[in-house]
Amino acid sequence: MKVSNVPIFLLLHSQFRQDIRQLSFLASNFLFCSLVLFFCKVALDPALQSPSIYSGIFWLITLFSCQGLFIKKHSSHMENTDFYLLHTGIGSSALLISKILHALIHLILLQSFSILLFAVFFQAKLIFSSGLFFTIVFSDASIVCLATMLLIGLKGSNVGRELLLIFLYPLLTPIFLLAHIQTRNELAAVGSSDYLGFIAGIFFIFLSISLMLSPILMEE
């Protein structure tokens, strides 16, 4: 199956153009930046440092954030335009790939911004861990792909959206469990002096997903 890059690029461009035009997007960015900095402050308390707890909390937050994000962003908002876009002859594969890329690129851009913000506010020396990095990125990619494809398959009715939850949770549970175990091990493997980088890693992802979720929740 041949998929042209041009329509994917055009769709991505228009989707990001719309994202940055939402006033609520800017307002919620500010709100969530403030909240995450507060959480980071709490997380850095030495008495609370436990890899297993942080890992568990992080993936639970991710699970609930993603649920709302995908139901709102890729279902109700895009449903009307999808039909008309397909009548330009672009093909459903290009539309699907553009939706997945949109969510992933959005995530990566916000992650980059968030980690920079964290480093500035806490004068943190952030240490890169390839194990944690790939665990989080691959888990995010799995969630984005699975949820997008499920929504494409189930969209069109309110029943479909409800069914998404029923299908999404069992499908994602193994991914979340593996991600939780891997994250916990990564966190436990490093010494206390290196812990800051891992905490930052966890929270910049949390911030990113929250940022993606927030404008959509504030729209209605």
Binding site: V6, P7, L10, L11, S14, R17, Q18, R21, Q22, N80, T81, F83, Y84, L85, L86, H87, T88, G89, I90, G91, S92
Partner: protein
């Protein structure tokens, strides 16, 4: 030519279309009928937006076969949900649809439509701030921007003032000259009566139809 073969569709046991067989040829047809008689459902089935519960739709030319992805490009559509991006301007919306349809920019014939409908001044505003009539004009222009072989318009005269209706009628005449197969639905009998196309009354679609 588009042929419907014993097509049936219902919504939660409410029979909207029952065993309808129909051939649409030459310039197309106008569906007219009261609310809830299945006009929109019929158009949605022909455009591929809705899959009929029973029966099949045959498209003579693969260039406008709604069952395949490339064929969809040959069908221009306009339904009540409009389907424009609210946070893009009308110019950006039309440019996006034109470029996705492999045109370099908004084509000249659409620029002329913009002038004819007198909406040049709103081209750079946000689409979600436009009036219903302005949105309808944009959706109509978008529907034929790629010069499709088949044009499916559901209630095209909705929200339009008298002058805009005349411009639309003139535009539809031009499409007829271009040999476009037009399938229209409306409850506006005055408007429909001014279009020189065969008329299909949808009042008995739920009882079955063969023509």
């Amino acid at each position: 030519m588009i042929t419907l073969d014993r097509v049936s569709h219902d919504f939660q046991n409410r029979n909207v279309i029952s065993n309808v067989s129909l051939s649409i040829e030459k310039n197309g047809l106008c569906c007219i009928g009261a609310n809830g008689t299945g006009k929109t459902t019929l158009l949605k089935i022909i455009s591929g937006k809705l899959k009929p519960m029973k029966g099949t739709v045959h498209y003579q030319d693969p260039g406008y076969d709604a069952r395949n992805e490339k064929g969809k490009r040959g069908i221009g559509v306009c339904f009540n949900d409009i389907g424009l991006f609210p946070l893009l301007s009308p110019r950006e919306n039309l440019r996006l649809f034109a470029k996705l349809g492999k045109l370099s920019d908004i084509p000249d014939h659409s620029l002329k439509d913009i002038q004819d409908f007198r909406i040049e001044t709103i081209l750079d505003q946000k689409t979600h701030l436009l009036s219903s009539g302005e949105l309808q004009k944009l959706a109509l222009i978008r529907s034929w921007i790629l010069q499709p072989k088949v044009l499916i318009l559901d209630e095209p005269s909705n929200f339009l003032d008298q002058e805009s209706k005349s411009i639309l009628l003139h535009r539809l005449e031009a499409e007829k000259t271009r040999k476009t197969l037009m399938i229209l639905a409306s409850h506006d009998s005055d408007f429909i009566s001014q279009i020189d196309l065969p008329i299909l009354s949808t009042d008995k679609l739920h009882q079955g139809l063969s023509s």
